[in-house]
Symmetry: C2
Subunit: 361 residues, 2 copies
């Protein structure tokens, strides 16, 4: 006998990038940071008082929330610390959207959003991105017309790397009748002329900004993220819907130390941005089309002129122990998403791709 | 404007035991283990490769699930590793119970169960425990009559410490039309003549057993628990409804090491059981009534003959930096739940309680 709810039985679940077993593979498929985390992390981990683990952690993660609030010049009451950005995304759905109500997003987008909607049994309303991957001007009015309760926008966008300006986000927040989640998972890789939209929060009670330590802080393995919003959005998640002790003691300590080393993050991000530009040039020189990216990855099109498809190239690279991401979805079938690796990894990638593209079939 | 769902707006949230700020307080209010975790934990934490945190953890926690499956002689496909027992409880609700459908439990019970039901917008059906805190014989038939989709039983029971035998659990599992969750959070403290019901699982497709490392393994601060059931119950939670990377790298490693040191757990549990019996004797000598307990806590009644109420005693102890748990709920108002501490803490507790009980008002 199957006990699953009907909506769960029908759904497939989130499919994350492959985890190659071998340590010498080049892993450019899940947008991990190629540099190690701050040296503070190692220090914190080794001097941590492991015997204290017999006690429950601080359920509200007050120390970590204080560090986050100082970093962004907001009050701790505007901050929720979560187990990766993923927990925040789930809490937003379970706290603010009744089953059967609609959740809005763009197409394409981060593939976890539709999965979270399915778990809550919420229909999805998608607005197609423009041909240049920009959010169309009618996004907010479409969402209002459809009666969505919550909209997800990932910015910089995944899987394209496109950035939506703060001014444009503010227009959307103004027009939208529902909650607007701006998922800034990749914000640490934007160029200096662009800006986060955290400072829009005091003016918009429907805006919540997601951050994660997985990308910019090289801590994907730690699972810490956070949300910033007006207290009315934070409070019900903090006091009612999150698991009582969502963050263990060690994560709270390590995350706090990592946040305190902004210099390390800036240095690594600067290197990654330089590599991104270089990798883009290299790929373009091979005749591939690359979308302008403000993230730590590139969306690369394999034009028809080549003998092999994007999927062929993905498989060929895999046989050579290089992992990139292929999405078998409309508008993405002829593309690969490639994380920016270390300079030598990016070089090796180019070197391996070139003969594959020009090899006679 | 408030964006909360109606059911969330109306609910209060889980209230956990106080976390005293001072390290020299005696904390007997959240059933933490008074002994430190296995020395393996410290070793694992200090030799962990912190630079690897830049990579995502294993989303399925395969290594940890293998260790759990070996410990219980089941297949890894029968195991889900979770962020504390709390995550498993939440996943059971969100995976198997549609909003509006009923969730069954006893009264009293672990106070998180009704909170999880409220978040999912599920009505609660409660069956009163007998006067000796045993599960009444009509529990399963009542639950079937009410049409519940999932039942929670905590065994040993919280907050009373009462144990339900394996034979009785099997009767309930047999009769019940719905999923039966046996929350064995406190199972590491039962006396030798009693048994876990994990080995009933091959015969019952509706049975899932919860375990946690918080109590027996002294790892409340780490947040690791697990569920064991037939694959049909485990699979949808593992592949669809849990957060993709629910357990960080460090927790997976530390939990695995702790599970491998069964000897340490056994030694500490033996000490705690001896202390429990001694504490019970001491409290009874003072004229207090103590329910027989198979857990690491005692439910203590302050009889009417004394000048002060249970709540008075709770407050008095708090002024003396001793924290115990008071539940302002029917059948519990004249009682305190007291965790078993270190021998010297238990002695101090008795010594401080005595004059309070016999002090003229």
């Amino acid at each position: 006998m199957s006990y699953e709810r009907n909506n769960i039985r029908k759904m497939l679940g989130y499919s994350s990038g492959e985890q190659p077993g071998s340590a010498d593979s080049i892993k450019l498929n899940t947008n991990e940071n190629p540099y190690p985390p701050s040296p503070n992390v190692l220090k914190a981990g080794t001097k941590f008082q492991y015997n204290n683990l017999r006690l429950y952690p601080d359920g509200n993660a007050d120390g970590l929330r204080r560090a986050i609030s100082q970093l962004h010049s907001v009050s701790p009451t505007n901050v929720l610390a979560t187990r990766g950005g993923d927990e925040l995304l789930r809490l937003l759905v379970t706290t603010f959207v009744d089953p059967g109500k609609k959740i809005g997003m763009t197409y394409p987008t981060y593939s976890l959003y539709p999965v979270l909607a399915e778990i809550q049994d919420c229909p999805i309303e998608s607005v197609e991105l423009n041909s240049d991957w920009k959010v169309p001007d009618h996004f907010a009015s479409d969402m209002n017309d459809k009666g969505v309760k919550l909209c997800f926008l990932v910015n910089p966008h995944s899987p394209t790397g496109t950035f939506t300006t703060k001014a444009k986000i503010e227009e959307i927040a103004n027009e939208l009748d529902s909650i607007l989640v701006i998922d800034e998972a990749y914000i640490d890789f934007i160029d200096d002329q662009f800006q986060s939209c955290i400072d829009l929060i005091p003016r918009h009670d429907n805006l919540i900004v997601l951050r994660t330590l997985s990308k910019g802080y090289s801590l994907a393995g730690l699972r810490v993220g956070y949300g910033i919003a007006q207290e009315e959005l934070i409070h019900p998640m903090l006091t009612k819907t999150k698991d009582s002790y969502n963050l263990d003691q060690i994560s709270q300590v390590i995350a706090t130390c990592a946040l305190e080393d902004q210099e390390h993050k800036r240095k690594c991000s600067t290197l990654i941005k330089a590599s991104r530009n270089k990798l883009q040039e290299g790929l373009e020189k091979l005749g591939l089309a690359v979308a302008p990216s403000q993230a730590n990855f590139l969306l690369v099109t394999i034009p028809d002129q080549f003998q092999l498809t994007a999927y062929d190239l993905y498989k060929e690279l895999k046989t050579k122990n290089i992992f990139v991401r292929y999405f078998n979805m409309p508008r993405l079938e002829d593309k690969l998403r490639i994380s920016v690796g270390l300079p030598e990894q990016n070089k090796k990638l180019i070197k391996i791709i070139e003969p594959l593209l020009y090899r006679p079939k």
